[in-house]
């Protein structure tokens, strides 16, 4: 896909998004104008601003047809082939991290994420990899759970149970 095509598609996507937002506000029955005795309606701000977004997107599309912006004339690839891999894999790894956090919990998910990123994507030594895989959960536990007293997602009950054991240990001996 060239930058030129991407520019048009993005313009269309933003236009659709803006119209969708306007429709959403409208269909929720929010007042977009003056409500007698009460002032501007709740829908005024988002509705008219989305309208502005739609106009701005239209302007981008018109400028695409006129070839006004440098992007609308560029025939270079939108994402170069050699970098596409790194970007897509990174984004996919993050998505997997989020999914796994809900299933096996933050800590195991983070360890797998680090293993994948440092060893397979980065191609670092096993020593470096294990430092990351072991160091990250310890650091995260100390920073977020101990210092910031946050309860990070622990995943399915079976994994959560296991973790509670560690937490119990901490509460029993350190406070």
């Amino acid at each position: 896909m060239t930058v030129r095509t991407a520019e048009l598609l993005m313009g269309l996507a933003t236009l659709l998004l803006s119209l969708g937002l306007m429709w959403n506000v409208w269909s929720d029955g929010l007042r977009i104008g003056w409500v007698e005795g009460r002032g501007p309606g709740a829908g005024m701000w988002p509705f008219w601003l989305s309208g502005g977004m739609a106009l701005a997107s239209l302007a981008t599309i018109v400028r695409w047809f006129l070839g006004k912006t440098p992007e609308s004339r560029s025939t270079e690839p939108y994402v170069a082939r050699e970098t596409l891999f790194l970007v897509v894999v990174s984004a996919a790894a993050l998505l997997t991290l989020l999914i796994l956090m809900n299933i096996v919990g933050t800590y195991i998910a983070l360890m797998l994420f680090m293993l994948f990123y440092v060893r397979y994507l980065g191609g670092h030594s096993w020593a470096m990899t294990s430092a990351f895989v072991i160091g990250t959960p310890i650091f995260v536990y100390l920073l977020f759970e101990v210092a910031l007293t946050k309860y990070l997602p622990k995943g399915l009950p079976i994994f959560e149970e296991g973790f509670l054991w560690l937490d119990n240990f901490r509460w029993q001996y350190f406070y």
């Binding site: 929720d28 790194l86 994507l121 980065g122 210092a147 990070l152």
Partner: protein, 505 residues
């Protein structure tokens, strides 16, 4: 005047409290680190680390983040000079002369000049800040909702007039931020708005930090991975005590550009759209124009390193002036700081000076201390940071990603927000590749609720009469300035056309 000195003294004392001093040190270090890593700048550091600052009281937290902001301005020069890639967008102009100097084996001289110029820029700017802030805040106390709204209009207009990006895309970015801020319960009527697909999680709205971390954490890392392909190349630097002393004697060569950069940087920094990057570019241009030897610029003139570095430091302090006194951030970084202040339970705006003087003066005091600490740390740690720069991106990226995900989760305790963050991050990355500016959206999502409230309050109090914005003098001035700023690119275009047409006809 006397009150300012007394308050400043109190602020300095506060800055020397052990916790705050520790925050200054860690903040400067973190700032130097994010500044020197290509792809990470002050705004990324502040966005990613804001959730962690909930550990400490608000004053210590803002001191940490302000010190980080500072440190990043210094740190940016390190990679601009040794790697030839700007460590942060604010250090772009430093590359022009810093890179040739490094190639000539004068990297240490360039680094010293950058540090000293940054120090002077920072100091000049803090002094101006201290003098300007209290009267400006006192003046802003007269502001009603009309003035507040007009001021925000002005802030957004600066993006259109001075942002330099494609105008329809800039407008889209601003409006998208404002609309995203409106998701959730309406602040005045209490009605739920824009709850897409009936997702209950959206009732609490989209937090500004979700967008900021999405764009400046996830999006930025994807962008950097793409532009560096995960690898870095660098120049060696020789540093000995002897050479450092020698470099101190050469200050005269660049002191004039440093002064120019310092004053210019402060005033440009106070404008919302402008900030540190354009300030440093303008300062570079000005020093080149007024230099006795403009041809040597771009070939390793030390003044070409000093001018932008002084300006970007001065601008970072300058951008805090409207944030503290008016509640309008002067840069994306200060927009995130402003959002942080709201989370900490402070109400940004002119009342801050009277309601939380400890907070304000502690921050101002800390800026004096942070500036000194950073210059010392910077010079002392240049060899270490050069080693840090050799760190491959495949090690830094997973740490940043993990901090982004956990940071967003920690601020709201909702997994839903991390999904939104990823979505916005990838979306932001795709839009940024097409030159959609992202900074206006971040500023807009922070200012959105304030702007909507002030607009509706003004309209209610004026019974729906829109002329209320132009019948009050301060508000009228802001509206006129905003209109001029919006018209500026059009006028510029017409002038250019006229100039092109006249020689032909």
């Amino acid at each position: 005047m006397q009150e300012i000195f007394i308050a400043l003294g109190g602020g300095l004392l506060q800055a020397f409290e052990p916790l705050n001093l520790f925050m200054i040190f860690t903040g400067c270090l973190a700032g130097l680190f994010v500044g020197c890593m290509p792809g990470l700048g002050s705004v990324n550091g502040v966005a990613i680390l804001l959730p962690v600052t909930f550990l400490v009281p608000p004053t210590a937290a803002i001191i940490f983040l302000a010190a980080l902001y500072y440190g990043a301005m210094y740190g940016g020069a390190i990679s601009s000079i040794t790697l030839g890639i700007p460590g942060a967008s604010t250090a772009v102009a430093t590359v022009f002369d810093g890179r040739p100097m490094a190639q000539q084996g004068k990297a240490d001289k360039a680094l010293m000049a950058a540090a000293i110029a940054s120090f002077i820029g920072g100091t000049v700017s803090i002094i101006l800040f201290t003098l300007f802030a209290p009267p400006l805040a006192a003046f802003a106390l007269k502001f009603g909702p009309q003035e507040e709204f007009a001021l925000m209009l002005l802030a957004f207009a600066t993006f259109i007039g001075l942002g330099g990006d494609d105008i329809p895309k800039t407008i889209f970015s601003i409006l998208l931020g404002l609309v995203m801020a409106a998701v959730g319960f309406d602040i005045i009527s209490g009605q739920p708005r824009m709850i897409f697909f009936d997702m209950v999680e959206l009732q609490r709205g989209i937090g500004f930090l979700v967008l900021a971390i999405g764009i400046y954490g996830i999006g930025e890392m994807l962008w950097t991975l793409e532009s560096t392909k995960g690898k870095v190349q660098m120049h060696s630097v020789k540093i000995t005590w002897q050479r450092i002393k020698g470099n101190f004697r050469q200050i005269k060569e660049y002191i004039n550009s440093t002064w120019v950069g310092s004053f210019l940087g402060f005033f440009v920094g106070t404008l919302p759209a402008a900030g540190a990057t354009p300030a440093s570019l303008m300062s570079y241009g000005l020093s080149k124009t007024f230099s006795k030897d403009p041809d040597s610029f771009g070939k390793g003139n030390v003044a070409g390193v000093a001018a932008p570095e002084a300006a970007n430091n001065a601008a970072s302090t300058g951008s805090m002036l409207p944030m503290i006194t008016l509640g309008i951030p002067g840069s994306p970084t200060t927009a995130i700081l402003l959002g942080g202040m709201i989370i900490w339970g402070l109400r940004p705006g002119p009342l801050l000076f009277t309601e939380s003087p400890d907070f304000v003066w502690g921050l101002i005091g800390s800026m004096y201390v942070a500036n000194t600490v950073t210059v010392l740390l910077n010079i002392a740690m240049i060899p270490i940071f050069i080693r840090v720069l050799a760190m491959p991106f495949t090690l830094l990226t997973p740490i940043i990603f993990a901090l982004c995900v956990l940071g967003v989760f920690a601020t709201t305790d909702r997994m839903f927000d991390t999904w939104v963050m990823l979505l916005l991050g990838v979306g932001g990355y795709l839009m940024r590749k097409l030159n959609y500016p992202v900074a206006p959206a971040v500023l807009a999502i922070v200012l959105g609720p304030l702007a909507e409230r002030s607009l509706r309050q003004s309209l209610i109090s004026a019974q729906g009469d829109v002329t209320t914005f132009v019948t009050r003098p301060i508000s009228l001035t802001c509206v006129i300035l905003a209109a001029l700023l919006i018209a500026y690119p059009i006028i510029q275009k017409l002038m250019r056309k006229k100039r092109e047409a006249s020689p032909a006809g």
